[in-house]
Symmetry: C2
Subunit: 698 residues, 2 copies
Amino acid sequence: MVCAVIGLAFAFFLIAAVTRAPSGNERMREISAAVQEGAKAYLNRQVKTISVIAVVIFILLFVFKDHPTAIGFVIGAFCSLAAGFIGMRVAVLANVRTAQAATIGRLDALRMGFNGGSVTGLLVVGLALLSVSIFYTIATKLIGSDAAIRSLVGLALGGSLISVFARLGGGIYTKAADVGADLVGKIEKGLEEDDPRNPAVIADNVGDNVGDCAGMAADVFETYAVSLVGAILVGLLTLGGNPAAIVYPFVLGGISVLGAICGIFFVNVARGKPTAVLMGAVMTNALVSAIVFWPVTQSLFPAGVIIDGVLRSPAQLYFASLVGLIMTPVIVALTNYYTSSHFRPVQKIAHASETGHATNIIAGLAAGEHATALPVLFIGAAIMVTYHFAGLYGIAVAVMSMLSMAGVIISLDSFGPITDNAGGVAVMAKLPKEVRVVTDDLDAVGNTMKAVTKGYAIASAGLAALVLFGSYVEELRGHITGRGEAFTFQFSLTDPKVIIGLFIGGLLPFVFTAFSMDAVGKAAGAVVREVRRQLQAKPGILTGEDRPEYGTCVDIVTKAALREMIVPALLPLVAVVLVAVIKPLGPVVLGGLLVGTIVTGLFIAIAMTSGGAAWDNAKKFIEEGNLGGKGSFAHAAAVTGDTVGDPYKDTFSFREPRRATRNVFAAYRRNVSAIENTWFHHKRVAESEVSRPCQMTQ
Amino acid sequence: MVCAVIGLAFAFFLIAAVTRAPSGNERMREISAAVQEGAKAYLNRQVKTISVIAVVIFILLFVFKDHPTAIGFVIGAFCSLAAGFIGMRVAVLANVRTAQAATIGRLDALRMGFNGGSVTGLLVVGLALLSVSIFYTIATKLIGSDAAIRSLVGLALGGSLISVFARLGGGIYTKAADVGADLVGKIEKGLEEDDPRNPAVIADNVGDNVGDCAGMAADVFETYAVSLVGAILVGLLTLGGNPAAIVYPFVLGGISVLGAICGIFFVNVARGKPTAVLMGAVMTNALVSAIVFWPVTQSLFPAGVIIDGVLRSPAQLYFASLVGLIMTPVIVALTNYYTSSHFRPVQKIAHASETGHATNIIAGLAAGEHATALPVLFIGAAIMVTYHFAGLYGIAVAVMSMLSMAGVIISLDSFGPITDNAGGVAVMAKLPKEVRVVTDDLDAVGNTMKAVTKGYAIASAGLAALVLFGSYVEELRGHITGRGEAFTFQFSLTDPKVIIGLFIGGLLPFVFTAFSMDAVGKAAGAVVREVRRQLQAKPGILTGEDRPEYGTCVDIVTKAALREMIVPALLPLVAVVLVAVIKPLGPVVLGGLLVGTIVTGLFIAIAMTSGGAAWDNAKKFIEEGNLGGKGSFAHAAAVTGDTVGDPYKDTFSFREPRRATRNVFAAYRRNVSAIENTWFHHKRVAESEVSRPCQMTQ
């Protein structure tokens, strides 16, 4: 808790530092203000939309479930929203200041951008850690430790609700604006990126903030909070009430907040290539954590601990946490290999562009699929090794230790939209060419960082798969044995229900992706129509005589994103509720669904994010003057690949269906007996009880 | 057996009928001869390559396993090869005759093309049924029923070996030639499809035959034989030696051969739209089977049968077989909806083409992903229903009954390359425009039929998933209990080994696809270079003064396909052997791998085949004059989509990894004790035995 407070204090110190920095000339401030305004307008409207749903769920939880869970729900939702909201406000302040710093030097711009991003990073981990620990402490005093831990599910649910909408809405927003701006601006009219004559340019810049900054913050807040709660739950169940097992995940998180602060210091004193400096921050954090974890593990478990009937030494627990720490740089390095223009995969796509659009696309699809192999094998190895060390709890420790790095990783991620926007400000404010070279350079680094963050988020979720499934089984077991019945579920692959669950679960990411891509397509279409309308109504825009109406594009894409996010967001929820209520299905199919979603989701997510980033950088590689450079045939093909890659890499967050599964189950896992009667007692259930399906969704 | 002989006799009658038909003018015969020669050259070289591997496996089986299995292997390999080889020879005879028939009328051409294709269809089911039944009958006399059934695995392995190479090599060949011909011919030089000035045109036509005809025939031969053997095995195990349970799958297959012949008669007498006539053949077959299955089921199981401790009535078994029959038209209808230009999905892609290459690609990817939902839900429902009727045996009966339709379905599939080639002959021989209209029309029907066949093959494999896994578990159980040990494997989702297996298995289709797409890319690159070289060396080719050297293109693509198929073909085999021999993995991980491969493979396969066919037909939709027609901006984008879709839909056969898994397991499941010792006895295994990894692959 102390560490969380230190982290938050440092975040506010950084906010002050960013705000104090010079914010450039009049024109720059004006552009920045427009972006700020657009972002604020979007977030306000999003908050309104989500609030309605949140209030309904709160009332249902309050009435049908217990009060602590309902209160936890509100806290989780509020903190998740706050992390994204404040982080984004700082990011839109930091962008213009990064552009201004770029007039002084590359290192200054790098630091300004990273410090701005660090606010979000520290807020996410600080708020997550603080809210869970305060809630747990108070709830333990009031209702006892076990009930407190079970109420934490409400807090996770709150975070999940926000993150589903924030990530998906933000993702649709950013990609619709981006694709829309590119299709008309770049491809039809031949404008440069961030050309102020493009009416969708402000919407594009707003999108970077609401998608990559606010959306990703809410997303990782949720993953962090859920994994923390999951680790505590697994600790409670496997270790039979050993208090150290519950404290341990908190301590790992706390130490890494300090590690993240060390990493931020590192960026502010180190010199060198941008990528090297940023990677240095990750390594600093990992190193600090690795050193401090050992004495802490020893003092928490001096005599070791018995898991699955075997005594595990403190060293074994420490090794499990080390595996989590090592996974972060491993995934970062792998993602970097597959998506950076310095290595073969991206260059292969660039070369394929020479023979046309189609070969570029084929090469990109193949590259994304190749990129799945090594991360998945490493995840498998990590599961095996940590399970060997300390059973399911060992995996949970590794997950928590991997996620404890979220502070510095989210800082890198938020660095992306800040530098992207800084580039936009530089172009629109007509700053000198040297400044743009600096911002373009940092923007490319930011792109790789964004891909790296996604790889990290996906891999940690893959690693957490078994913890999640384990806690599902344990909850189910607790529920059934709590009613005095025998728990007989095997979840065996020889059971057709498991296979059907795997099929339905495996389907969700595919259908979810399809709907998300459709949503981007529709929203982008709306932007394209509006931009074409403006350019036709005022031909002076292209010559620079008329000023485009940026506001209408922002408005259109805001509405479109909020409208289009509803179907994909509800899809997994509806699927899960249907599986739960349709009589011949039930909990075994739901278990298979959970695993099936993770299996196909893991691959789709890696293939799409890596493939998308690789297309993007293949285009950049050509634009740097290779293979004919800008304007060549290869470049046109590479632009197609980039445009495909954009929605491909950003709209799909494979955690959605998994999260929905878990939350639905968590939400109605107790208290609502009607649904469970249809599962377990369907032979003796009264007709009157069956005919109350309206209670199912509580 | 009698039915199989009737089927084969009818196939030879059809061959005679096709051969007797008029084969057009001099120029047409010349073109057809060139295609025949190229196809023969490829197949001969392929046979040589595969023979070496086949002989090695035969010797290993003969020495280390039992002689009946080794003999079964040879029979399976030979029949699989024969079905593809003879079918393809007839197809290349039928193409020119179909072009000639098109001069008379559409219906005549349709019948000629379908009759040519039917030869392959009847050969596949006839040879599969005959070889399995003769082998089983003789082996039972010599070594007893149980041992005979277990030796059948050798026959399936023989079919598998051929099909891996034939399908993959043929797939790479056809797509490399197609993409290569299109990239230079259509896109760079603006030539029409099948323009004789394109040096790769003959290679392209050869490719259709070796890929869609010979490759698909070997593929379905294998699926058919393996499912038949699997159904017998499940029957043997679940029903405890009730002879009717073993006879039943044979009888279902035999009846459907007669049904397929009825379907062929239907095509030769019916009038109407081509699609309606061909679908009528499928319905005729289904109807005949549905009617005859009932009395046969009743007479085989007059008193019902006890499965899993419950008495099942003959009606329940009959219903299970009906589900299999119904699945065929359901999958056909669904595939048709997602891939035909008459429905929304394809039209959406066509509309997306109006905004450019990138939106076309995004729409196509999304369409493919949407197309996974309904087939998978139907497969899940079919598994549930048939399991409810008669347990695992019920699923096996449904699989066999669905596959019994293979005769007519493969006839439809082989119809595709015949009409495609007929169109090529018509264009190259400069036949009148009316003839080309007929062949183009039939070609479009053929495209849908090809997509339909793929959907059918994928769905039947998905349905067979549990049968396959069940027979894996049973073999493992038999093996372990045979050594007097207890069988304790649970394959539970709570076991980290199962999760790791699911991840590794889920990975295989992704990596396999990536390698296959790379292989097509490389082989197509070789074709592109050769075509460019010829056009540069002899500029007279484009003006029609010089004749292109078709032979060198055929030769290059033949070599490239055989070279490039090796890595993807070996990949699943190597992965499975590694999982088997690496100590901490073993049979539980292998079981997870099997299921993981089916889960992701099912989705990838559906998404890719449907998406690819949808892109193809979106292009055709525009070429019919919609949205600006040929030469418009939308058309250029649609051509890109089609070129991406080509390798996307054809190189991936998701059964490869599954098949390899099963075969490797089947091949060394007994007799080779070294590998099993590392699994089960690794504590007491002698060092000398571990160090003999060279025996693993037997």
